[in-house]
């Protein structure tokens, strides 16, 4: 067994593999199918201040090499999350780390969710969703440099826990947003959220997705995620969690070589819940074969022209 541990966000991680927000519920839903406590951790479904109803169906559909979704951030809201969901995570996960994904319409929404959770047991830190493409104004913070700067600074004032900002890919220069997060006190970045997309039912001449458009995920977006992780790596020294289309250890290693310290597996879970463990095993096999530790591989990409 190779050394796949990481030390980041102030703690040790037994595995670099996490489950992505929106694909693993609040953990409990997959408890019978995935040995969650053997993973690096999981990121919860987004939590907003008030419960959200979400979008009308269809909310999901298959796309070439992936899927499109517009759930609309349906979630139980902050108080129900604290009462009904967080205790399970606290009681059942001891080695896997929990990040709580937080979403809001306004800066105040974000601040209230983070401050409302900060004293609770059962989680490590926050992943701030400034990039959901499926709700009105969902990308506002993630694609507006000034709004992002004030949001990150405001959240930094509320918590000393790890603060990870989940970036949208839908900006011309992701490096700019990565730097803004760093300058305003974020501890890390998640790269990337989904790409906006649309599917049309040509027989009905209507959008397939009830929300009209949605976010595209799955293997089809792997190269974009790897590229944007690499771009973000060049722009900042913040630790990066690589996300987008990972379904094997080899996929995850592309993110690691591009600069990711940790990775998240999302859509692939729907195809095979065992994928998260398989990704870990695949990384392990590569490190064994190459006699390296995972830490030695982070950002170890060699470019044409680099000295050998």
């Amino acid at each position: 067994m190779a050394d796949l541990t990481q030390a980041v966000f102030g703690v040790d991680w037994q595995s670099p593999v996490l489950l992505a927000s929106g694909t693993c519920g609040y953990g409990e839903e997959y408890a019978e199918l995935i040995p969650l406590d053997r993973l690096g951790g999981l990121v919860t479904k987004a939590v907003s201040l008030e419960p959200r109803q979400g979008n009308p169906p269809h909310r999901v559909a298959e796309t070439p090499g992936g899927m499109i979704n517009a759930i609309g951030l349906q979630n139980v809201g902050l108080s129900s999350f604290i009462r009904d969901k967080l205790p399970w995570l606290a009681a059942n996960l001891s080695r896997a780390r929990v990040l709580i994904n937080v979403v809001g319409h306004t800066e105040r929404d974000f601040v209230e969710v983070v401050s409302g959770l900060d004293d609770q047991p059962g989680f490590l830190g926050f992943e701030i969703n400034v990039s959901c493409p499926n709700v009105k104004d969902g990308t506002l913070f993630g694609a507006d440099p000034e709004a992002l700067a004030t949001l990150v600074a405001a959240l930094r004032n509320e918590t000393e826990r790890p603060l990870v900002i989940k970036l949208t890919p839908n900006v011309p220069d992701i490096g700019l947003y990565a730097r803004i997060c760093e300058e305003n006190g974020a501890d890390g970045l998640s790269a990337i959220n989904t790409f906006p997309g649309m599917l049309i039912d040509i027989d009905r001449r209507r959008p397939v997705i009830g929300n009209v458009s949605g976010g595209v995920s799955g293997p089809a977006i792997l190269p974009m995620g790897v590229y944007l992780t690499w771009r973000a790596r060049q722009a900042t020294s913040l630790p990066i969690i690589g996300i987008g289309g990972i379904r094997s250890g080899d996929d995850a290693l592309q993110y690691v070589l591009a600069g990711a310290t940790l990775v998240q597996v999302g859509t692939a879970l729907f195809v095979d819940p065992q994928v998260a463990i398989q990704v870990h095993q695949g990384i392990d096999a590569y490190c064994e074969r190459n006699q390296v530790t995972l830490r030695q591989l982070v950002g170890a990409l060699e470019l044409p022209g680099d000295p050998a």
């Binding site: 199918l33 109803q53 269809h58 999901v60 979704n69 349906q74 799955g218 729907f270 195809v271 095979d272």
Partner: protein, 260 residues
Amino acid sequence: MRAPIRQWAGVRTIRKAAEETWWMELDAPGIAASAVPGQFLMAGFGLTQVGAPFLPRPFSIGWTDRSTGTVGLLIREFGGGTRRLARLRGGDQLLLLGPLGRSFQIPNGRPLVGIGGGVGLAPFLFLAAEARDSAAEVRLLYGERTADRVFDPALIAELTGVEPIVYTEDGSTGRHGLVLDGIDLSDDPVLLGCGPTPMLNALEKFARERGSDLQVSVEEHMGCGVGTCQGCVVRGADGSWLKSCTEGPVFDAGDLTWPI
């Protein structure tokens, strides 16, 4: 309810049961052992490929044989994903996750009428087969548009021991009309419906007007099958969205907003 099982399962047999309609039997002992009528499974090709179907597809569990560990699925070709499933042959492998979801809730002592439209027949094959060795009376009403799409009645009888009453919209086989025409309420049965949305809407109106108990199995696009993605929602009676994978697929009709 027992925990779902994730397993690769070999196709035992697949036979054509009607136009673009196939009956597949899979070697899946764990799922066969614990599945209950009304539950479903997700079937897909795993992660080594990204062709359609990339996401697994939900199927009502159509039949089980616990002694041989067999699970039967009724597959109709709707698009690229189901077409590929229909092209499988004996020995091919599918990745299954199941059994999943809420089953039919069967009260003791009352007759059951399974009302299936198209491949909505599937859960009632399972229900009727399960009732075979019990005192429960199960009647099957089965509707299709045309004769060429009617699942072989001899195969239904072989699987379940029940002769379905078949309706076709054009009268090309069986009785001419809609399955609703065949519902006999004289012995106060529990109505169980599965099929296309217009059929379920008509059935709900029929049952409501007559004060009959109705449970329906709904179908919505599904991502995970286990309640995490919240993709497969239907509108509950109070206006909230209910997950058809975990809160359904079988709902008491009164728990939904109609028409669906």
